[in-house]
Symmetry: C2
Subunit: 336 residues, 2 copies
């Protein structure tokens, strides 16, 4: 006889098929999962909350995007080390009323992300709760001592970011204003709902040996750059004019390109969270090895690492201190 | 400049000291943690919820017991494989109001368990939430292919449990009735608040090669034995008279010993959760290798594995079906 919890676990376990092929001798259904480590590799471990009310809203976020995003953002931490994902554990707290259609859609999004980023479900824990709560643990791997850390940036290094910053924040604003967009998908809303961890870029940066420090942008550039600088005991000088901000395509023929005259887009690029782009530093002598784009993803130099431990922003009207104004769950009001 | 979240992480990170000695090249403060796997060992992965309102009550459970128990119960899954813990990740959602004294006490209990069971904090994620939510991921290891699974019990095998069953359930009832006990600690309440994962016993069982299947008792014998039997495609016959139930010491000289005339204690032994004792099966030819006690912990044969896939309970009044009536978060009313 199966308990209700056992039935739920069976439904989730369908994501974990063919686990033996993925180096998981034992997966869902036992007390714990077993993983066969590869010789010469280190194991990367990371976990990430994704909570209703804090990280998503049940009325605004489609359940398949909740499934996709909870894994994608945890995978971004693997990208931030230059690693390759192996498997993940899903801790799911869910109201009884959502164990039907909502759960099925959630698992569809989760399965899509698990396939796309080649990360197998290895196990987890389920429980009942009035609000949806998700904690994802991802296990990755990286060869030898190739992992890139936040600490490592040196004065004089150049600061790079991937992609366009602030899109996810602008997408969230649009989602909050207008509910779910109908018709063709909006690129800002898509970026917010279905972010892509920069795994391939992270792995390339770790192998290229040009990078001195690496992290992902989850809480906004102003907050995350401050963390990278603190870990490296350095400061930074960022040039506002260089920030890759979002600009809507004005005509059909015209491609989206940076446009730093838009104050909302600039604020989002500085402080908006959830972009999951990569932030990295490169020694001046290695800069020529960083291409303008990597697999179609733009790489932009936005400033330089400084010896003085302050964060400074150059703007058209002069210099000012760049304060962390990104996402912080323990600050009462969100700013920026 | 530190954000509030960064300050909280620093407070938690004090648990993760001397991580390099523990084979963790990189721990708290970066995007992810790094673990150096031992050659010839498999990695064990498990995660466990511990939620306010579901698994503990803020008014009834002292914060240091919340810290102890959230790790101890996750470690029990490592014991259930026969493994040795290496490190853990802490996902903590906490209300602003509890980041002072409550958090300090919680971390004290967590630190005590981490030391006692030699399991280092490797990383985690923190966020703000109106109710406390905890998800713990434990990483363990086990040599070669020594891990014991739930599947493996064969008809004719004898069924054993460690310790006394139902104590945690009786302790919870006492806690609910009377609040926190004053004066000298009550063994039932202590068992509920500060359970001990049977790591040493699990490791010994994995090495002894006498055991055919192993799991831990977290949701109650009737539920967990059904899971072991389902995984092994077998049934079981349990003798009620053999169950190691709680009996209070009647006189100062008399030691606590089994007393199966107490209906409340019997029900708790059959269906009570949170004991974190071990349930294992042994082939008849290996039974002589199972001692009566292991490091002072009683090991009791409670029945036998059967070919017919039913769970049967022998009682003084005859035989009856043993239905899973233990803890199941998705059943509306708790039973038993």
């Amino acid at each position: 006889m199966k308990t209700s919890e056992d039935r739920l676990i069976r439904q989730i376990a369908r994501l974990g098929k063919s686990q033996r092929q993925l180096g998981l001798p034992l997966g869902i259904g036992d007390d714990a999962a077993l993983l066969e480590p590869k010789p010469g590799y280190q194991i990367i471990l990371t976990c990430d909350w994704f909570l209703e009310g804090t990280h998503f809203l049940r009325r605004k976020h489609p359940p398949d995007s909740v499934g996709w995003k909870c894994l994608a953002r945890a995978l971004s931490d693997i990208a931030a080390m230059g690693g390759r994902p192996r498997c993940f554990l899903l801790s799911l707290a869910i109201p009884d009323a959502l164990t039907g259609r909502w759960l099925a859609e959630f698992l569809k999004g989760l399965r899509r992300a698990a396939r796309e980023f080649r990360c197998a479900l290895a196990g987890g824990d389920t429980t009942r709760k009035a609000e949806v709560g998700i904690s994802i643990t991802v296990v990755g791997e990286i060869r030898g001592r190739q992992a890139l850390h936040r600490a490592g940036a040196r004065p004089g290094d150049l600061i790079f970011v991937s992609g366009v910053l602030g899109m996810a924040e602008l997408g969230l604003k649009r989602l909050r204003r207008g509910g779910m967009p109908s018709g063709k998908p909006n690129p800002l809303v898509t970026k917010h709902l279905y972010p892509e961890p920069r795994l391939a870029l992270g792995q390339w940066l770790a192998q290229s040996k040009a990078t001195t420090a690496l992290m992902d942008l989850s809480d906004g550039l102003s907050t995350d750059l401050a963390r990278l600088c603190a870990a490296s005991c350095v400061g930074a000088h960022v040039d506002l004019a260089q920030l890759p901000c979002w600009a809507p395509p004005k005509r059909k023929q015209e491609r989206a390109k940076p446009n730093n005259s838009n104050s909302e887009a600039l604020q989002a690029a500085l402080n908006g969270g959830d972009d999951y782009e990569l932030l990295f530093t490169v020694a001046p002598k290695s800069v020529k090895r960083i291409p303008e784009t990597y697999s179609g993803l733009r790489l932009t130099c936005i400033g330089q690492v400084t010896r003085s431990r302050h964060l400074v922003l150059s703007t058209p009207t002069g210099r000012r201190v760049l304060s962390p104004r990104g996402w912080d769950p323990f600050r009462r009001k969100s700013q920026g």
